[in-house]
């Protein structure tokens, strides 16, 4: 038997690349299904479209056990603090896919009740357009996310998430200091951000 050389036993690569390869092929989605897009999501999970082909069939309904937040449907202002809470609870590293126009921009609901895009309150990685997007579109979005994961630096992801934690801490301290409800705190932070010319609070 030939002697094992170092070239056979070692695969030279970068740490980022090998970790990202693992990450992108084992996404555990948390479906935050709120409206119509959740129905298309059901189609995507069921027999015809079969999302498990992408290594992401292990749905976890607990944020603690998942690393991909799929926001499926309209997020209203009433839900905004809930969404922030859920994102904060998720395991690191974490990604967010905003599925459908309502989640991405408020869509056709430009009203007092609807949050005009979830990127105002949580960081978003991939936006999937459509009202609702077809299952193929959501799958394409997931593939785009996989591409994004392949190329990103681990450190950048960490910092990206840290920026959210900072804003979440600020929300909590606002609530404690002024005795605000989560809704009022988020609203106040959005107002501040607006005055500074920003569209988001994280």
């Amino acid at each position: 038997m030939a002697e094992l050389t170092i070239d056979d036993a070692v695969l030279p690569t970068r740490l980022d690349a090998v970790i990202n390869w693992g990450r992108k092929n084992s996404l555990w989605p948390l479906p935050y299904g709120t409206a119509c897009c959740a129905i298309e999501f059901m189609s995507m999970m069921s027999s015809k479209y079969d999302f498990s082909r992408f290594g992401a069939e292990a749905l976890r309904f607990s944020p603690r056990q998942s690393d991909l937040l799929l926001v499926l449907g309209t997020i209203t202002n009433k839900q905004a603090p809930v969404l922030r809470q859920i994102y904060a609870q998720m395991a690191e590293p974490k990604w967010v896919m905003s599925v459908g126009v309502c989640a991405s921009s408020g869509g056709m609901y430009r009203t007092y009740a609807t949050l005009q895009g979830i990127d105002r309150v949580v960081p978003v990685d991939v936006y999937v357009p459509g009202c609702p997007p077809r299952p193929e579109t959501i799958i394409y979005g997931a593939m785009k996310l996989q591409e994004k994961i392949t190329t990103e630096a681990l450190k950048a992801r960490k910092e990206h998430i840290q920026a959210f934690y900072d804003s979440f801490d600020r929300q909590k301290s606002l609530e404690a200091a002024k005795g605000l409800t989560p809704h009022q705190a988020v609203r106040e932070m959005l107002l501040e951000a607006g005055e500074a010319g920003a569209q988001r609070i994280w």
Partner: protein
């Protein structure tokens, strides 16, 4: 142990508060239920809704009558086409017009397909919630065919916006009926398969039989409509009781239950799927008898003129411009029009001041009063049963909160 009549309920500190939702796998959209538990028994369940309140009614006051049609899709997104039909019927009632016979038959056809699709989601997800995944996969195969049919007819799988005031967006395409025939052939088999998996399945039976019982009197007092009311034994179905779209010319039966529990609601929904298939078959027959014809009224003050006329005739161009820019002329008055949607009575209340947009538009969603009774339905039952009851109520957050 039944906590409602035991003395342990008096003890403070024994109760556990469990927060179900707004993000919970069994909540069907976003709603939140705060459950007070003693052991595994529910002492009190307080639903909190409004997490999907998107301001549809306010939006409707600022849009023209035609522009509101896409918003109706997103009310009950499991059977959007029925919402389109219900809304256009309400506006047609306000205008005092009727759509052409061919359009009526097609509206019935697509409504019944949507009813089947809605029941598929309801039964399938109800089963998934209490641990039976297989039926869901079988049923969703057929639902995909319904999606394909809708996509052929309207160009969109889910949010069809198929109807127009005074008729339909367009006639059914050529290849619609062949695919429908395939569906009519395979769907009864799928229902049989589903029944094999569920109806006589002892686990399904034990989990649903006697859970969420309701008397007919209570059901009426709570404002139940649809399968939940019929499951309780009240034979109220607007398709028979107050026929619209010529439903009185179709031959179909209204299934009713006896106890109103989850099992009865499931049986009622299953039978309604079969009855809907019967209606669809009759629709196909009627379409053949009627032959080709218009599917929208010939009044260009209400419906857009065909494109070739807009491009060639001055008058049609003016009508097109007027209708798009100024909307319709509506009489001053108020109407309430109700249709039998998959969940029950779907009502639209429109107040018109004669302007291009409704002065006030209100939707009466069928699951709103049903969900109101949730506390009474689950009090004293196991928490696992509460999930079964929630599934059988078929709460669709989009129409619940509007």
């Amino acid at each position: 142990m039944n906590p409602t009549n035991s003395t342990t309920i008096q003890r403070e500190g024994d109760h556990m508060i469990v927060n179900l939702g707004p993000s919970h796998p069994s909540t069907h959209g976003t709603l939140r239920i705060v459950m007070e538990l003693e052991g595994e028994f529910v002492v009190k369940a307080t639903p909190e809704i409004g997490y999907l309140h998107r301001g549809v009614e306010k939006l409707g006051e600022n849009l023209s009558y035609h522009q509101f049609i896409p918003l109706t899709d997103r009310l009950n997104y499991c059977s959007s086409i029925m919402n389109n039909v219900g809304y256009t019927l309400a506006v047609e009632k306000l205008l005092g017009i009727q759509d052409p016979p061919r359009s009526q038959v097609i509206r019935v056809l697509v409504s019944e397909l949507a009813r089947i699709g809605d029941h598929i989601v309801c039964v399938g997800i109800n089963a998934v919630d209490i641990g039976a995944f297989t039926a869901f996969l079988y049923l969703f195969k057929e639902r995909e065919t319904i999606y394909d049919l809708f996509e052929m007819a309207a160009g969109q799988r889910l949010h069809t916006s198929f109807t127009r005031i005074g008729g339909l967006m367009r006639d059914l395409p050529e290849n619609f009926l062949p695919l429908l025939d395939q569906f009519l052939e395979s769907m009864p088999r799928t229902i049989d398969e589903m029944e094999k998996l569920l109806t006589h399945n002892p686990i399904w039976y034990d989990r649903t039989k006697g859970v969420g019982k309701i008397t007919p009197e209570d059901a009426i007092a709570w404002g139940y409509t649809g399968p939940c009311l019929r499951g309780a034994g009240v034979p109220q179905d607007l398709r028979k009781a107050q026929p619209y779209l010529g439903y009185d010319t179709y031959d179909f039966d209204i299934p009713i239950g006896t106890t109103g529990d989850v099992y009865d609601r499931y049986l009622v929904r299953t039978e309604e799927m079969r009855q809907s298939l019967r209606i669809v078959e009759q629709c196909v027959q009627k379409l053949k008898e009627l032959g080709p014809g218009p599917v929208i009224v010939d009044d260009y003050k209400i419906a857009l003129p065909p494109k070739e006329k807009v491009y060639t005739r001055m008058e049609s161009l003016i009508h097109h411009f007027k209708l798009v820019m100024h909307g319709m002329d509506t009489p001053v008055g108020e109407v309430y029009s109700a249709t039998e949607a998959a969940n029950g009575e779907l009502g639209y209340y429109i107040v018109s001041d004669g302007g291009k947009s409704p002065y006030r538009i209100h939707v009466r969603p069928p699951c709103y009063p049903i969900f109101n009774s949730f506390d009474e339905q689950v009090k004293g039952t196991l928490i696992a049963d509460a999930i079964a009851v929630l599934g059988a109520m078929n709460i669709i957050a989009g129409e619940l909160d509007r």
